[in-house]
């Protein structure tokens, strides 16, 4: 754990969105995730390599593949002074699994069959099937059962066991946290955290430059990142993030069901230009779906097709799509026409699609850009009506989370209708594995097939850019942008 050189009394953070709900179970966006990390504790805490470390649970054992037993820390109190017990853990997970709560992340926990309190400091999880990724999600904040059943609304007045308490919340503009003096890990040195909400990335950068905030992080426009770098006044940390940007080919589409065509099209994706120019070199060009944030799984030998206009043209010719008179490729009297879509909220994505459209058109493909707002786009995605979409995934705290739902046949968000038995088998194996090594090899196997068949073409692995003022020298966030450093206990 990095240490702040000299923890200030008050820290102002510039965040991009307001929290929708500070109930740990209902977290749905980055601000909530990051603040919940300070307000609550989970059974485990994920370290910088996203591996589980003790938190409320001091230790755990796994008697068999489907049973987990956690031993809780003694004497932990919630912000309201009540003492943490196993029942609170049971309550938290039971409600989380209850469909009526409508928790966004419920599906991450559905393999849990039962949670029971063995004694006040021991909890047992029973799984329906072996589910290795579960540990990555057990940092879910524990809420006090008694208060919850007394109708407390943690969404507006969160109560956890974390190092900070909610002090005030002006919707849409500011969230104030104050140090929890009774924190079991020791009273934090930082006394107050003020989260200022500034939606516009440019404005957030300006706020930092003007000294209005002490910390800002991704998402930031490339131009602003360069500007702040240029000023030299701010500490700029780059952390591999648990997110990637990708192009999704709809393998259910008549044209795109052909892996050879997908491979040819993949060679038209000008990855270097998109990553370096449009995204301003903020992220790492990807060579496979395996994210650098998980060093234990990365495998440099797996590679996707690279940008190669000539090769792509030749392959398209070979596939029978020959250049027609109008500069558009034709086969059997049919024009090669495709659409590339993305959502309209993200300027870099729009630019990428616009650029891809330009390159595709240059290669003789009649290309339409479909850019609509997020809900509309998602509707099309879920209806599997788009041909090619340009999107990204975030908060992928486990390699499983980057592939299982996306690329396993019948996966919940397998919008490209991709189905490959080899990949399915590998992903299942990854879930059932018990050791890190086993898991790594399963995901590598899946990634190799995916890179070759390109249902997904991963453009870049995102990196988290953090700028801090002198006040926070030494600060480093984790891959999720968590601010655990701010909770470091006073000396």
């Amino acid at each position: 754990q990095a240490e702040l050189a000299s923890p200030p009394d008050t820290v102002r953070l510039g965040f991009d969105i307001d929290s929708l709900s500070l109930d740990a179970r209902l977290a749905a966006e980055t601000t909530s995730y990051r603040l919940n990390d300070l307000l609550y504790d989970g059974l485990v805490r994920l370290d910088r390599d996203l591996l589980p470390q003790p938190a409320l649970a001091t230790s755990w054992e796994q008697p068999d593949a489907t049973t987990l037993i956690f031993h809780l820390r003694e004497g932990v109190t919630f912000h309201d002074g009540s003492v943490l017990s196993a029942e609170d853990v049971v309550y938290t997970y039971t409600t989380m699994l209850d469909p009526a709560l409508n928790a966004r992340n419920r599906s991450l926990y559905t393999p849990i069959a039962a949670v029971t309190a063995i004694d006040p400091l021991t909890v047992e999880f029973k799984l329906a099937e072996p589910y290795a990724p579960l540990f990555s999600y057990l940092d879910l904040g524990i809420v006090p059962q008694a208060l919850a059943e007394g109708n407390a609304d943690f969404g507006t007045t969160p109560v956890g066991t974390g190092p900070f308490k909610l002090e005030a919340w002006t919707r849409g503009s500011q969230i104030n946290l104050t140090a929890n003096p009774d924190y079991w890990g020791g009273r934090p040195a930082v006394q107050n955290i003020e989260v200022v909400i500034v939606g516009n990335g440019t404005a957030r950068a300006q706020a930092l430059a003007a000294g209005d905030v002490d910390l800002i992080m991704t998402p930031l426009p490339p131009a602003e990142t360069q500007m702040l770098d240029g000023m030299g006044r701010f500490d700029h940390t780059i952390t591999p993030a648990v997110a990637f940007t990708y192009v999704n080919f709809n393998t259910g589409d008549a044209l795109l069901s052909d892996p050879a065509l997908r491979a040819a099209l993949a060679k038209l994706i000008d990855q270097p230009t998109i990553v370096d120019q449009i995204f301003g070199g903020l992220d790492l060009p990807a060579s496979s779906i395996l994210m650098p944030a998980f060093p234990w799984v990365v495998d440099d030998s797996i590679a996707q097709p690279g940008f190669d206009m000539q090769a792509a043209m030749a392959e398209l010719d070979a596939l029978g799509w020959v250049m027609g008179p109008a500069g558009i490729r034709v086969k059997d009297g049919q024009e090669l026409a495709l659409s590339i879509g993305t959502n309209s909220e993200d300027a870099e994505r729009i630019q990428s699609v616009e650029y891809l459209q330009n390159v595709f058109t240059g290669a003789g493909i009649r290309t339409e850009a479909v850019i609509v707002d997020y809900p509309t786009f998602m509707q099309g995605n879920q209806g599997k009506t788009y041909q090619i979409s340009f999107l990204s995934w975030g908060n992928l705290v486990d390699p499983d989370r980057a592939m299982f739902g996306q690329l396993r046949s019948g996966g919940n968000f397998n919008w490209g209708s991709y189905a490959n038995p080899e990949v399915d088998a590998a992903l299942d194996a990854g879930r059932a594995a018990t050791t890190v090594e086993e898991r790594a090899s399963a995901y590598r196997a899946a990634a190799a097939v995916i890179s070759a068949e390109v249902p997904y073409y991963v453009i870049s692995h995102m990196q988290l850019h953090t700028f801090v003022s002198d006040k926070l020298a030494g600060f480093a966030p984790d891959p999720r942008g968590f601010l655990t450093d701010l909770a470091a206990p006073a000396q």
């Binding site: 749905a28 966004r104 909220e345 809900p375 509707q379």
Partner: protein
């Protein structure tokens, strides 16, 4: 007067219901599902179906409309799908910020507009007039958000004089504190308010300046101004007592309409300056398809507009003795 006011307030009732119906029908056609946005890309279909069911999104639309109108009649605008809190609460939290911004912008607009308009009218035909009117013309032609961005770029980024973003302390309590001897919060509040209010107000100031000028020139030609001069009154006195008092009348009625434009313009200003008001809320509500919240916001905006115009009309009746509000 009272009867008129009551009548106008009563007319608001069908208007609100009309707006509720119109907005509701608009919502019916929204593509995209708030539930998928809320539950995320990763949500399994069963869960989505369950939540849609619990929100009553799958009921026949007439039934939903009926329920909604019944709610509106009781002052209940439903729960926000995303924040899981009453829409009224959410809107009331944000309302002060927007009102503060809009009122300050309007103040700037009126003061600036009056001064410039009168100056231009007094020196009409001169270089001053030409200059003022040219500035006004530019002000009107400038997209609000472009001006906002330029102001931020210049005053915050280049000069670093003013904070670029966000709202400071709420203005009204800050005023209170200033009165009781602590001017610091007021200063901060004003520093934050200045750029957004300016960027929002300048366009309106330009419009008002032109109106004031035209109105003053119109009134100057009136017979009663000649009467006033024939009484031997001094020029400033004629200007203030006789000309301005009448020239203000059409301006007042325009301010109501302008306020509507200003509220709508606040959507952009709030977005640029990270101002936590209804405009920003509206944009995020639309992009999340938080239907009850969008509906509530549309109603709120409509009602604010109607109320402002009501106030303006009543004010007009008070200021202009010729108008018998009946």
């Amino acid at each position: 007067m009272l009867a008129y006011a009551i009548r106008r307030v009563l007319i608001l009732v069908p208007l609100v219901f009309g707006m509720a119906i119109a907005a509701f029908c608009l919502m019916l056609f929204f593509p995209g599902d708030p539930v998928t946005v809320l539950l995320g890309e990763a949500a399994p279909p069963e869960q989505i179906a369950l939540m849609r069911d619990s929100l009553g999104l799958d009921l026949p639309w007439l039934q939903r409309l009926g329920q909604y109108l019944w709610g509106v009649a009781q002052g209940d605008l439903g729960l926000s799908i995303f924040q899981r809190r009453p829409v009224t609460t959410i809107i009331l939290e944000r309302l002060p910020a927007t009102v503060e911004l809009a009122v300050c912008a309007m103040l700037i607009a009126v003061v600036l507009g009056l001064v410039l308009g009168v100056v231009a009218a007094l020196w009409r035909g001169s270089a001053i007039d030409l200059g003022v009117m040219l500035i006004a013309q530019l002000g009107i032609s400038m997209p609000v958000f472009w001006l906002g961005i330029m102001l931020v770029y210049y005053f915050s980024v280049t000069l670093g004089w003013l904070p670029a973003i966000s709202r400071g302390p709420a203005l009204v309590p800050a005023l209170g504190q200033a009165v009781t001897g602590d001017p610091a919060p007021l200063g901060t509040a004003l520093r934050h308010l200045l750029l957004p209010a300016l960027s929002l107000g300048v366009g309106q100031a330009a419009i008002i300046a032109r109106l004031v000028r035209a109105s003053v020139l119109e009134v100057i030609r009136e017979d009663f101004v000649r009467t006033a001069r024939a009484k031997g009154l001094s020029r400033p006195r004629v200007m203030v007592v006789h000309v301005l008092s009448n020239a203000m009348l059409p301006i007042i009625s325009v301010i109501g309409l302008r306020f509507g434009v200003l509220l709508a313009g606040a959507v952009l200003t709030e977005q640029i300056f990270g101002w936590p008001g209804l405009g920003q809320l509206a944009i995020s509500a639309v992009s999340q398809r938080d239907l009850p919240l969008i509906l509530g916001l549309l109603l709120t905006f409509g009602l604010m507009f109607a109320v402002v115009n009501l106030i303006v009309d009543l004010l007009y009746g008070l200021v202009d003795p010729r108008i018998t509000l009946e």
